[in-house]
């Protein structure tokens, strides 16, 4: 539980940095927030997020491989929670 909220908190923090706090005044980013519809993340911002994930989690979390496993609708509807769950799953074996 603590780990879950840690990863969520970190990802939310990265998103706030990438997007800019002043653009998120009306948005509370949570597990159900969608990347496309709600955050409207642009390609340049996706790249910036991927870099931050790489810096924070290194090779254990491969954002590109995560995306590669998703279909069009899954990518369209991807939520912050989906990404957080993926990160947690990848961190699990190493963390124990």
């Amino acid at each position: 539980m603590t780990q879950s909220s840690d990863v969520l908190g970190e990802v939310v923090g990265m998103l706030v940095e990438v997007v800019g706090e002043d653009f998120l005044l009306d948005t509370e980013i949570g597990p159900d927030t969608t990347f496309n519809d709600e955050l409207a993340l642009e390609s340049i911002e996706f790249v910036a997020l991927a870099e931050k994930l790489q810096d924070r989690y290194g090779g254990r979390v491969d954002f590109a491989a995560f995306i590669a496993g998703l279909g069009l609708d899954e990518i369209m509807n991807m939520t912050v929670g989906d990404l957080v769950r993926h990160i947690e799953a990848r961190l699990q074996p190493a963390a124990v």
């Binding site: 496309n36 590669a68 069009l72």
Partner: protein
């Protein structure tokens, strides 16, 4: 309809069919051939065909277009032959579709593009294209990459067909990192052919006779692995003559910047233009913004707002261009050796923006959330660091050597 069948569409870089599986019959050579251009209702996709068609006409060939006549008006030379291919219901929904499109990004835009535009456009155009084939009797159909009816009609009537790729995004495999999405796109193309009882499926985005790409490896990146029937001919500049322009407004010794978001994004770009106006206000530049004057009610004195500009005549007077990354504006700018600041919005634009930055000919910035400082920094850098201009000039040189409309016409003549 045969939707039940599922036959694999070969992937671009996988089992590419050999170039000349069906050798076209060479007729007694009167020299004169007939070329039919199948185009979507999108200005950027029509303009290059105008330049290629003009070159073919100059050589004595006959040309015609098939598409949505009102969209072609003003883009084609007066007197051009146009066969209508439209479906009233699809046309009626087109304006709404354009508006819906403006709210979409990334994968949602891709899904919309195929499900709400390319596939229904293909079906809507099919009867008109077949009718045009019957009446014009083309020797070659030159089909835009987004017009599925062109290659399907060509295949049904056993006519050689060429692809007109007015954006080069597909040649860097933008979906390589999303194999399931790439597969989904190929399924859309496969299903379309099955609907017309073609079950020997091809990837209709890439003709197996000739693919004309209006760019070169200098911008796209490595093109050496493409088969010979992929012709990287460089831009064929076919914009209609522009409107007038107050040339005296431009001062000789001051850098000038063109800011344009293309024909489709003018309205959605209101915020972008406002931020850009703030960004250039304190810079020692003159800026020409292409947007309806109402977008910027009170522009600073170093900024000129015009609803339309004669872009090709204006570019030689510019020092840099800020754009959303529409393929034509990017290539026209690079053809003039101008460095770019690209703020990609959707569709192929992020891919084109990456091409520009990888070529060293410009910088990419955000679109919807761009900040004044972000734009100022990027514009300042491409204007003052000469490496961007040098890279743009390298692309220009490669464009010049590629032959453009002349090379495209050579390749099309060789098809028959």
């Amino acid at each position: 309809m045969s939707r039940g069948r599922r036959v694999q569409v070969p992937s671009l870089l996988g089992a590419m069919p050999s170039a000349f599986t069906q050798e076209p019959v060479r007729r007694a050579d009167s020299g004169r051939r007939r070329f039919l251009f199948a185009v979507p209702p999108l200005a950027g996709h029509v303009n290059p065909t105008v330049a290629v068609a003009a070159e073919l006409t100059r050589r004595g060939h006959r040309v015609a277009w098939v598409g949505h006549p009102p969209s072609l008006e003003g883009l084609l030379k007066p007197g051009s032959k146009v066969y209508p291919a439209e479906d009233p219901e699809f046309t009626a929904g087109l304006e709404q579709a354009r508006r819906d499109w403006l709210s979409l990004r990334g994968p949602a835009a891709l899904k919309f593009l195929w499900e709400e535009f390319i596939v229904p456009l293909g079906h809507a155009m099919m009867p008109g294209v077949e009718d045009a084939v019957e009446r014009f009797r083309p020797d070659v159909i030159v089909s835009d990459q987004q017009v599925l009816a062109g290659p399907v009609a060509a295949r049904l009537h056993d006519i050689p067909w060429a692809t007109s790729a007015t954006t080069s995004a597909e040649f860097t495999r933008p979906l390589a990192g999303m194999p399931l999405v790439e597969e989904w796109v190929r399924e859309q193309i496969g299903d379309f052919q099955l609907d017309y009882d073609i079950d020997d499926l091809l990837d209709l985005r890439f003709s197996d006779h000739l693919v004309l790409i209006f760019s070169t490896g200098a911008l796209i990146g490595d093109t050496s692995f493409f088969p010979d029937h992929f012709a990287f001919v460089g831009p064929a500049l076919g914009r209609p003559p522009g409107s007038d322009f107050p040339w005296e407004w431009l001062e000789e010794d001051k850098p000038a910047v063109l800011v344009s978001l293309g024909t489709v994004n003018g309205e959605a770009g209101r915020r972008f233009f406002q931020i850009a106006a703030e960004a250039v206000r304190d810079m020692d530049v003159q800026a020409v913004f292409v947007t309806p004057p109402g977008t910027l009610p009170d522009p600073p004195p170093n900024l000129l707002v015009r609803g339309h500009v004669p872009q090709l005549e204006l570019l030689p007077r510019m020092s840099a261009v800020i754009t959303h990354g529409g393929h034509n504006t990017v290539c026209e700018s690079l053809a003039h050796g101008l460095p770019l600041v690209v703020a990609p919005i959707r569709d192929d634009q992020p891919v084109i923006a990456r091409q520009v930055t990888a070529a060293g000919a410009g910088l990419a910035v955000r679109f919807a959330r761009v900040r004044e400082q972000e734009l100022q920094d990027a514009l300042g850098e491409v204007l003052t660091d000469d490496r961007y201009r040098q890279a743009a000039c390298r692309v220009r040189e490669s464009f010049e050597n590629a032959g453009g409309a002349v090379e495209a016409a050579d390749r099309l003549e060789k098809m028959t």
